[in-house]
């Protein structure tokens, strides 16, 4: 039996929902091809269960939530937040095997993180750092979009911002991005692409931001530092500073960005199926923190920019599906995404079964005493 190599590892924390999505209602969602039902318990903690009744597999999300317990909408079996059945109709006891899977869950940086793999390995310390999303030094908000493409295509997209020039020409794109050199580096779990563009005209979006925040109109030093953390989180440090004020790092020391505006584009892309993903993003800024209207405008603005990506990614997925044997020819600009893919591949390979198929010899061939005990 030939089985395809999975496109994602299971032993990882994946964002399954934005904090505000999980309320006192049953929320069904598929992540990593596993059907989940989520709800918020009365004490505020999130519970995540397998979305299938132990008895007849009806999705539990079609049932009802009462207190911290979920009642199946078919025969009324009741489950607690740990997935253990607590009521069985028409009998005085509860079958000891009646449990649905309860997933390890952590709520952090405004996301509900779920571990779909071996629960024994679910260490909360491994949740990716996206603190800009709920840090008082930063202001922002974001959204979830479900994209009909392999989550790795979104990672590819984020790891190479050359595309800004051509996809997002009216906002953040400019020729300088496509022409500036970049440096791609990697560690054991992360890959980083760094690009500095010094003494350039700011693109329309950033020209507006630095003028609004600092009243500055002139040449800027622009940066994009893209950091991928396996398997699917990409945090991008972006911004512009008044040119010549020392923003770029020098001699291994961080630069002085005090005459600039800084944003973080936070992205974590959870596989839904092999051909679709839940793309959670946020944009956080370190300037004009009290301006709620700016938060709103930026969220809607970025949302428009990402819609441009969505069109490209879904069209690309369709083209890939139409050319199943096509192998990509990679360019220099793909270094960041290639490091990211290597890191993903390593995590996937570590989960492949080690046991090889061992042919069974007939018992008669074995020269073994009948009973060695």
């Amino acid at each position: 039996m030939k089985t395809a190599i999975p496109t994602f590892p299971l032993n990882a924390w994946y964002a399954a929902a934005y904090d505000v999505e999980v309320v006192r209602k049953l929320l069904p969602r598929t992540i990593c091809k596993q059907k989940l039902v989520m709800f918020r318990q009365t004490d505020g903690r999130v519970a995540v269960l397998e979305d299938a009744c132990w008895h007849r597999l009806l999705p539990l999300s079609m049932g009802t939530l009462q207190g911290d317990e979920l009642t199946c909408g078919y025969h009324g079996l009741v489950y607690n937040a740990q997935g253990r059945c607590t009521h069985m109709p028409s009998q005085e006891t509860i079958n000891p095997a009646a449990c649905v899977r309860a997933y390890p869950v952590v709520e952090k940086h405004r996301f509900v993180w779920v571990w779909p793999g071996d629960p024994a390995l679910a260490d909360p310390a491994l949740v990716p750092d996206m603190h800009w999303n709920d840090d008082p030094q930063w202001a922002g908000d974001g959204k979830l979009i479900t994209v009909q493409c392999d989550y790795r295509l979104v990672v590819d997209n984020l790891m190479d911002l050359t595309h800004e020039t051509f996809v997002h020409g009216s906002s953040i794109g400019q020729r300088a991005v496509a022409e500036a050199p970049f440096v791609a580096t990697h560690g054991d779990r992360s890959a980083t692409v760094t690009r500095w563009m010094e003494g350039i005209d700011a693109p329309p979006f950033w020209a507006g931001q630095i003028e609004h925040a600092r009243g500055y109109r002139g040449k800027v030093d622009r940066w994009q530092i893209i950091r991928f953390e396996a398997p699917c989180t990409v945090n991008i440090d972006v911004g512009v500073a008044e040119t010549g004020t020392g923003a770029p790092p020098k001699d291994g020391l961080p630069g002085d960005r005090s005459k600039g505006v800084n944003g973080f584009v936070l992205n974590t892309v959870t596989p839904e199926t092999d051909g679709s993903c839940h793309y959670f993003w946020a944009f956080a800024r370190n300037y004009c923190l009290g301006e709620q209207a700016l938060t709103h405008r930026l969220r809607e603005g970025v949302s428009g920019i990402f819609r441009e990506d969505e069109l490209i990614l879904e069209a690309q997925q369709k083209a890939i599906d139409e050319h199943p044997d096509h192998r990509f020819y990679n360019l220099n600009i793909d270094a960041g995404s290639m490091w990211a893919r290597k890191l993903i591949d390593k995590l996937v390979a570590a989960e492949l079964p080690v046991g090889k198929v061992i042919p069974i010899r007939p018992a008669a061939d074995l020269q073994t005493p009948l009973n060695r005990a």
Partner: protein
């Protein structure tokens, strides 16, 4: 979590006697070992008196990627499955199911108490290992109570001592003090029990007496252990004009099937309750070995689970069959 019905051929690669009555078998399945979580078991097809029977055995220890490990207690007064296993030579082939799990470990509890009686250690062995490793890495304490009739019947004792250290308490030839252990278990902690029915009953009583939620008591039974040793008993079923003796090595369910009484059943471990029969009259005592009937239903003696429960004396039962009008 869900049952499945994928079967494959396996080769008996080796075996080793762990105690005078517990033998560990390594089975090498065709197509490789499938991943399985703590608490999982295999179903095997064993030949008893020339006929295939299904038996379930917990998978023990960490998977080595090559073989499934099971440990089988030899029950000379059992229904024949363990004796059939003990007669297998190295190199024998048998049918095995994919691993199934009816005793899943919830990794989210704040603390754990594992309770094993005799061969009931098998599903708890890997739970102990996994939880001890996590406990050592910080938090979520785990303790184990492990009882047996004699010291030399404490299978896997050395490895449990290494993994659990002070957190392992063995009890030999005596009743376990459940109350004290349950009191010491932090709030929200879960208790996992596998052992003979009387031990499970005692553990459950202590758990409920301590005011602990029933949902936090998790258990698995092996359905072949009761308050007394199996013995032959007489069964009458007036609706079928039936008067038979159930031999000591045969379940009531099997005996009635052989006598032509159609019945419903599923788990054959005393859990699902599908095989429960109405008791019309009883001369003697019922050894209720199921976990389907509640304590007071068992006291009433109005029903019994035919797959596991037995009688000392004689009993008159009714079936679900009604003649067409």
């Amino acid at each position: 979590m869900k049952s499945n019905s994928t079967w494959t051929d396996a080769l008996l690669a080796s075996f080793e006697d762990l105690t005078p009555s517990v033998r560990e078998f390594r089975l090498r399945p065709e197509g490789g070992v499938l991943p399985h979580a703590p608490g999982s078991h295999l179903q095997l097809e064993v030949q008893i008196k020339g006929r295939p029977h299904l038996r379930s055995y917990s998978l023990v220890g960490e998977p080595d990627g090559q073989t499934y490990r099971i440990a089988v207690k030899r029950l000379d007064q059992g229904r024949g499955g363990s004796l059939a296993m003990w007669q297998l030579p190295v190199g024998a082939r048998l049918r095995v199911s994919a691993p199934q799990n009816h005793f899943a470990l919830d990794f989210n509890a704040p603390a754990y108490l594992l309770v094993a009686g005799g061969i009931g250690i098998t599903p708890l062995l890997r739970m102990a290992h996994t939880l001890a490793q996590r406990s050592a890495a910080g938090g979520r304490p785990v303790r184990m109570l492990y009882g047996a009739r004699t010291t030399d019947e404490l299978a896997f004792l050395a490895e449990l001592q290494t993994q659990l250290g002070e957190q392992l308490r063995t009890v030999v030839g005596a009743a376990m003090d459940f109350a004290a252990e349950i009191t010491a278990l932090p709030a929200g902690g879960q208790m996992y029990v596998c052992g003979p029915a009387p031990m499970l009953d005692a553990a459950r009583s202590a758990w409920l007496a301590a005011g602990r939620p029933e949902a936090d008591l998790r258990f698995e039974t092996f359905g072949s252990s009761g308050a007394s040793a199996p013995q032959a008993f007489r069964v009458q079923m007036p609706r079928h004009g039936l008067d038979i003796t159930v031999p000591a090595d045969c379940s009531l369910l099997e005996a009635l099937e052989q006598a032509g009484v159609e019945q419903l059943y599923d788990c054959q471990r005393g859990e699902c309750g599908l095989c429960a029969l109405d008791v019309l009259a009883l001369d003697g005592t019922i050894d209720h070995r199921d976990v389907f009937l509640s304590a007071h239903e068992k006291q009433q003696n109005t029903r019994l689970c035919a797959c596991v429960s037995r009688v000392a004396g004689s009993i008159t039962l009714d079936s679900a069959w009604r003649p067409e009008p």
